[in-house]
């Protein structure tokens, strides 16, 4: 029973880490979406980025989602020069598939283009899936070793239980922290130059300016204004709500 649990946990987290868990797309909807997806890919490959964007957006309007869809749509917006939209979609794709090297490469390249410093870009939030996977493995291993210890005892088992327990404690702590960060509301600036004011009013003075494509933390909403923060720089300011969009829908 214990080994069956380990195997099940490992399989579950392999799926989680790769981001290929898709849930249940149903029949005709999924087929239509896939056809649109292929048509959009062809349009992109032929250089018709506007047409590709429209087709990808049609898929989104159909209620479909996916890391590849976000990634491709992000590439399309990048080609069209809309770096804010591109960044937003790369972040969404990366949240869905954090281990995808292509998504991370394009996100990092865009980040480099807009002059965003790397230390503000990544946190534990993106590792939540991985950390929870490791936590699960440590969890299963720890209790499995405890279970084995009910039947036989050895020094190896004793040390194994201790190590598994320590790893479980570490991974669980990190996973909870990552989970909090992942749950943190993050957004991306979509306008070429967002003026962050000291208060939620156009009468307030401009504290700093945020470039398009910069990732920010979404803090508080008052009327048509939203407070955004740049934790790496220790800055907070208010921008119009329509100048920023949350990464998580």
């Amino acid at each position: 029973m214990v080994f069956a649990l380990i195997a099940a946990t490992a399989a579950l987290h392999a799926v989680t880490a790769s981001g290929r868990y898709t849930g249940g797309a149903r029949g005709a909807d999924a087929e239509d979406a896939q056809k649109l997806f292929q048509d959009a890919n062809k349009a992109y490959a032929s250089g018709d980025f506007a047409a590709a964007r429209d087709l990808y957006e049609d898929i989104v309007r159909q209620g479909m989602d996916g890391a590849a869809l976000d990634y491709n749509l992000g590439n399309t917006y990048f080609r069209l020069g809309q770096v804010g939209r591109a960044r937003l979609l790369y972040e969404r794709a990366l949240a869905r598939s954090p281990a995808d090297d292509d998504i991370r490469y394009n996100r990092d390249l865009l980040q480099q283009r807009i002059g965003e410093t790397p230390e503000t870009a990544d946190g534990l939030g993106g590792l939540a899936g991985l950390l929870w996977g490791l936590t699960s493995v440590a969890n299963v291993a720890f209790f499995a070793l405890l279970g084995i210890g009910l039947f036989r005892e050895s020094e190896t088992l004793w040390w194994g239980r201790w190590l598994a327990g320590i790893f479980l404690a570490l991974f669980l702590t990190a996973s909870l922290a990552a989970g909090r960060q992942a749950a943190e509301r993050r957004g991306v600036i979509l306008v070429p130059r967002a003026e962050a004011r000291t208060g939620p009013s156009p009468e307030e003075s401009v504290g700093f300016v945020i470039p398009e494509g910069q990732r920010v933390v979404l803090l508080e909403v008052i009327n048509d204004w939203i407070q955004v923060g740049l934790p790496g720089k220790g800055l907070k300011g208010w921008v119009p709500r329509d100048s920023v969009e949350a990464v998580r829908r």
């Binding site: 029973m1 214990v2 649990l5 946990t9 579950l12 799926v15 989680t16 290929r20 868990y21 898709t22 849930g23 249940g24 797309a25 999924a30 979406a33 896939q34 997806f37 292929q38 890919n41 992109y44 490959a45 898929i59 209620g63 479909m64 989602d65 996916g66 890391a67 590849a68 869809l69 990634y71 491709n72 590439n75 399309t76 990048f78 949240a95 869905r96 292509d102 490469y105 394009n106 390249l109 865009l110 939540a128 899936g129 929870w132 996977g133 936590t135 699960s136 969890n139 299963v140 720890f142 209790f143 499995a144 405890l146 279970g147 009910l150 996973s175 989970g179 992942a182 749950a183 829908r249």
Partner: protein
């Protein structure tokens, strides 16, 4: 607006004594020889605005010849411009020549002929050969269009110093016979904007030698000569002058007020002035004439240079001023990888061509660019500095495919419109074929292979789209779903169950009769109830079921296996358990009944079976009450 500026004349007197000694020592050595009388003009084609220099030379004759009478020359008006003598020693022989210079001003365009000019000398009459002259309609700028030139503009008064006040040929005052002046076409300009500086020498007499021009100090300006030197006639202060004009383009390098220093002209003129006074000088004046060196200087000019406006300055502006066009071209349209191709970017127009900066060229990373070389093509016509500057760059494509070079941009300030302009070239395309497979050169002493270039990143761009990908309705990440958190509790739960099972097992091992002992009566009663239907169907089977219940109960209570259980271990167990002897007797009796029934099943009756069941039930109750649940 042009401006006139005054002049100064400094003279340097000739060393008359030296000339005298030379003349006396040489005069006796002159030999009589064949005399020649020639006429020579400095050019055969002139315009109406030019003048012609006619030189009449008597060679081999005596030096003290009188000025020839010039006949009427059709189409020209002649004026005497001076006389000079020349004595030379060649291999011990002495030769002499006297030259009379006349300036001829054309009166009408067309083909004219200077007729033979006679000269009487030593009883002989000599005549020159006729000369054909072509006079073209005037092409130079009319008077008044050049800065500082207008009939109404009077030359400044003669300076008070030195030789300027001497009597000069023609009997005119020095200021009226020759002077210099400078003028500019504008006194206010932007940084880099062309200013034309004119230096003019006005003369009504001829010079004895080529004058020496000393240009002005133009600190704060880049200069560009504007040849050719022009000559024309002009009227100033009611007098007709022969004007020699030099033009120079000036390009201010910084904003502020700058001064163009005085320009100077060193020249030798003939002085027939009688102020030498003495007879000695007069005697030889006819032989050598009298020369003096004069230095003419113009007044300085002040130029105001404005800075280039900050408003509207393009990002790529590098300080170029003028009016320009831009073109770019590749010398090939199709090449192979690593095959060089030449990109030529040409900026052409009007301005300081030499100082043109290189247009901003963005070479894509697919190309390797080598050093850019530049070449100039400058034309200076009508006082304008025009031309082109070509920037040549050798490019080597590093990858194959259809490559393109982005447009080249060039920004400049146009002083005529007072605004910045940006011109750009067309986008250039280049078809690059893959490099042909190279063959390594044979190497002596062993196999060889091409040197690997190594991995080199050509450009950075986003990676391509993904052609496959699952699509599904949006869902929260797996680790945020409630089921995932429940899943995290499964290992702990499994371990808990396992631990409980182990605990119970251990407790059972520690108390072997525990569970079976406690549940023996309940099991016996449930089994008796299940066996009851056999009373109506199969009495032996009923008795057999009761027998099994009997053995199972006692086995469970005594901790013995019911299989093959005999009376002896039962009796021993009951005694060890402290069961009352009456109960033991009942057990023995019931065991005997079961034993007997096994051998005579046909004798069983229903009533007997019911009685047996009741006895068994009573026995179980009795024993159970006596054991009391203790193990």
């Amino acid at each position: 607006m042009a401006a006139w500026h005054g002049f100064k004349i400094d003279d340097i007197p000739m060393k008359r004594a030296f000339c005298f000694l030379v003349a006396v020592s040489l005069a006796g050595s002159l030999r009589a020889g064949d005399m020649t009388w020639t006429a020579q003009v400095d050019r055969n084609t002139i315009t109406m605005n030019d003048s012609l220099r006619l030189q009449l030379t008597l060679s081999g004759g005596k030096l003290s010849v009188s000025q020839p009478d010039i006949p009427d020359i059709p189409g020209f008006r002649a004026g005497f411009a001076g006389q000079s003598q020349n004595i030379s020693f060649v291999n011990g022989a002495i030769s002499s020549a006297v030259t009379f210079t006349f300036l001829l001003e054309p009166q009408a365009p067309g083909d004219h002929t200077i007729p033979p000019i006679p000269l009487s000398v030593g009883g002989q009459t000599l005549a020159t050969e006729p000369l054909s002259i072509k006079v073209l309609p005037g092409s130079a700028a009319p008077l008044g269009s050049r800065p500082g030139l207008s009939d109404g503009a009077a030359p400044p008064a003669a300076g008070p110093t030195g030789g300027a006040q001497r009597n000069l040929p023609g009997g005119a005052t020095p200021g009226q016979n020759f002077f210099v002046a400078t003028a500019v076409d504008k006194k206010t300009a932007h940084v880099g904007e062309k200013i034309t500086l004119y230096f003019r020498f006005y003369s009504r007499v001829s010079l004895l030698s080529q004058p020496g021009y000393q240009p002005p100090d133009t600190t704060g300006f880049l200069t560009e000569d504007l040849p050719p030197q022009r000559q024309y006639s002009a009227t100033a202060n009611g007098l007709r002058y022969q004007v020699t004009e030099l033009a120079t383009a000036l390009f201010p390098t910084a904003a502020g007020k700058f001064t163009i220093g005085p320009a100077a002209l060193h020249c030798h003129v003939q002085n027939f002035s009688p102020n030498a006074g003495d007879e000695f000088s007069s005697l030889f004046s006819g032989f050598f004439g009298q020369t003096q060196q004069v230095v003419l200087r113009s007044d300085p000019l002040t130029i105001t240079v404005l800075p280039l406006p900050a408003a509207g300055r393009p990002a790529g502006f590098r300080g170029d001023v003028g009016r320009y066009q831009l073109s770019a071209a590749l010398d090939k349209s199709a090449v192979s990888v690593h095959e060089p191709v030449t990109l030529t970017v040409t900026v052409s127009g009007e301005g300081n061509i030499k100082a043109l900066s290189q247009p901003a060229m963005e070479v894509p990373p697919e190309f390797k660019a080598y050093e850019t070389l530049s070449s100039l093509n400058i034309s200076k016509k009508n006082d304008q500095v025009e031309g082109s500057k070509a920037f040549t760059t050798v490019l080597k494509p590093e990858v194959s495919g259809s490559l393109s070079l982005p447009p080249v941009r060039f920004s400049f300030f146009d002083p005529r419109t007072g605004s910045y302009q940006t011109v750009q070239s067309q986008k250039l395309s280049l078809s690059v074929a893959p490099a042909p497979a190279g063959e390594a050169p044979p190497a002596a002493g062993g196999p060889s292979f091409p040197l690997a270039e190594g991995v080199r990143e050509i450009s950075q761009d986003i990676r391509f789209i993904k052609n496959t990908g699952a699509l599904a309705p949006p869902r929260a990440p797996l680790w945020e779903r409630p089921g995932f958190k429940l899943f995290q509790g499964l290992p702990g739960l499994a371990f808990g169950l396992l631990w409980i099972g182990t605990f119970l097992k251990e407790r059972s091992a520690a108390h072997p009769r525990g569970s079976a002992f406690r549940r023996a009566r309940a099991r016996a009663e449930r089994a008796a109830a299940r066996a009851r239907p056999w009373l109506d169907k199969d009495l032996p089977r009923h008795r057999e079921a009761l027998h099994k219940i009997f053995l199972d109960y006692l086995g469970a209570k005594l901790g013995l296996s019911p299989q093959g259980l005999t009376l002896e271990p039962i009796q021993r167990g009951l005694r060890e358990a402290g069961v009352a002897p009456e109960a033991v007797v009942d057990v023995e009796a019931l065991a005997a009944d079961f034993e007997r029934a096994r051998y005579t099943p046909a004798l069983l009756s229903r009533s007997e079976e019911e009685a047996c069941a009741q006895r068994l039930a009573a026995l179980v109750r009795t024993l159970d009450s006596q054991w009391g649940g203790k193990s």
